[in-house]
Symmetry: C2
Subunit: 325 residues, 2 copies
């Protein structure tokens, strides 16, 4: 662990401790010691964010802490897991106390909101970057894997993908939005995406597969298709758009962002026809639209698009966002 001036940093992260009963020993020994509840599987995900690659060097530290955690929580959501513990390895070029105060305040706001505990990590000097390790639980056998999609299953998304890319375009002056409310909505979707934890949990026994939208629908749904060894047809007429997107972005650009914009952190999942009614009920009270946009198929390979009932080819695909890693 840290010593010298970098022990200062540790103070910012050791000041708030939740009282999770599953944490035997948190920060302050060689390892954290943790107890897993009975009949629960441990879910672990790791993400690194590097300045200039995953975020702009002058990002508000509160936004950075929010997004770093949200991105990791989104991975738990995509497995249907309950958040539990975080490790944070933070590398900083200098000890900037106002920056650390804002960053750690925002981080602990989120940790407390999700009843999570910071159980350890590392603080080192170096180019600004961080690696978060997130740990959660999912009841044994009920995780939402990528490999469970079957022909006939419906393909659904939460929320309105593409908003994050539009928000980034506003931040980078590539998109002008005159309505301050709409501009704020879209930029917040980029800066403060909502991990769909509750949707993931509600879908545990209903969805056949799930993934979160980090790289864009085409790329991420592609991972489900590859893992499940099947193809899919998407109905582009069914794609859901936010009001702000519809008001300020032409339909072709909106579609492009929805399909390949990335960083939405919505869930894309598949649901068998038999479970579709139950799914509608389970997610209906969560306040976020869930839209079926296509169907898994045994007859096609890869991803196919339909518009107005006809097959079409898109002459673009893949990545169109800030960072493609």
């Amino acid at each position: 662990m840290a010593c010298g001036e970098f022990s200062l940093i540790a103070r910012y992260f050791d000041r708030v401790r939740s009282s999770r009963l599953d944490v035997d020993t948190g920060i302050g020994d060689d390892c954290a010691l943790l107890n897993i509840p009975d009949k629960q599987t441990l879910a672990i995900s790791t993400d690194t964010l590097v300045s200039g690659i995953h975020f702009l060097p002058d990002i508000d530290p509160a936004d950075l802490a929010y997004k770093a955690l949200a991105v990791n929580l989104s991975d738990l959501a995509a497995m249907g897991a309950d958040p539990a513990w975080l490790t944070l390895a933070l590398t900083l070029p200098t000890v900037d106390e106002p920056w650390l105060q804002a960053f750690s305040d925002s981080l602990f706001d989120q940790l407390n909101y999700y009843d999570m505990q910071l159980i350890g990590g590392d603080t080192t000097r170096g180019p600004l970057s961080m690696t978060l390790g997130i740990h959660g639980f999912v009841p044994v056998g009920r995780a939402l894997k990528r490999s469970g999609a079957k022909p006939g299953d419906w393909i659904c998304v939460t929320g309105t993908p593409g908003d994050s890319a539009a928000g980034l375009a506003i931040l980078q002056d590539r998109l002008k939005v005159k309505s301050a409310d709409d501009a704020r909505y879209l930029t917040q979707r980029h800066l403060r995406p909502t991990p769909r934890i509750l949707h993931g949990q509600a879908l545990r026994d209903l969805a056949s597969s799930a993934i979160d939208l980090s790289d864009g629908l085409i790329s991420d749904l592609g991972h489900i298709l590859k893992a499940s060894r099947c193809g899919a047809r998407l109905d582009l007429n069914a794609m859901p758009y936010s009001d702000a997107m519809q008001r300020h972005v032409d339909p072709e650009q909106a579609l492009r962002w929805a399909l390949s914009g990335g960083e939405d952190y919505e869930l894309c999942f598949t649901v068998p026809e038999l479970n579709r009614g139950a799914m509608d009920v389970a997610v209906g009270h969560l306040g976020i639209p869930v839209t079926c946009i296509g169907q898994i198929s045994a007859e096609v390979e890869g991803l196919h698009f339909q518009r107005d009932g006809k097959n079409i080819t898109l002459d673009w695909k893949g990545y169109d966002h800030f960072d493609s890693l």
Copy 2:
């Protein structure tokens, strides 16, 4: 996870999979899914290594992978834990395939040796650094915490602390050692320290506290004293030195390196008088000397030194190694 050229990197780390029965899902989904054996506590530790801070930029990638894992394993050893899983977040400026081949070969050699599995991580572009998250098990209630030392307990160390600092001095041309064998022994103690996993396990029911020597004996034993709220006396005449150290380093410098050199990754632990005989038997067959160098005391605060039966004051302490973070 990675896309584009950085998906190349993932290939180097997805090529070898152990068949640990506790891994339900490893690399390739939103999260890894893991099952914890009955009556075991999970031990987690995180370490970041940054180029130019924790290692020289031109370090042999095989040595780097070895040391990155050994440093983390040493934290498990200090808790008496059995190694199980690793997450690796690797940030690289470019895709250098020979470097990746050597790094990953060395990493998997070690993972296989310890029957560990790489369960996930992240590969990103940026300044060379890495964060490892290591996960192990320890039977419930039997972890070796820092806080258990009691007055009267003996203070012991494995191996011969100081060798790593001497090895670094050789690598940096600050120490000349004419014997090639001795030079090789000392530099290997720096480049390839041995995590004392077996010692940690053998000490589970015998030691009252333990820590690994990353920052040097004075600093690390200080953590035990602080957590256990007691003081200690060290008998400097009892300090163990390697033959190579005794042959090539003057006694005062050897003592300084032994007490504050750092990066030895030996264990320092305390053992009650009642368990000392059992401890000698338990660690006796492990091939590494274990030496009692002092005693926990209720009569003093902090760390006190004795030589030839007299109290002495050292006019230096703290850190004297490559990196003090």
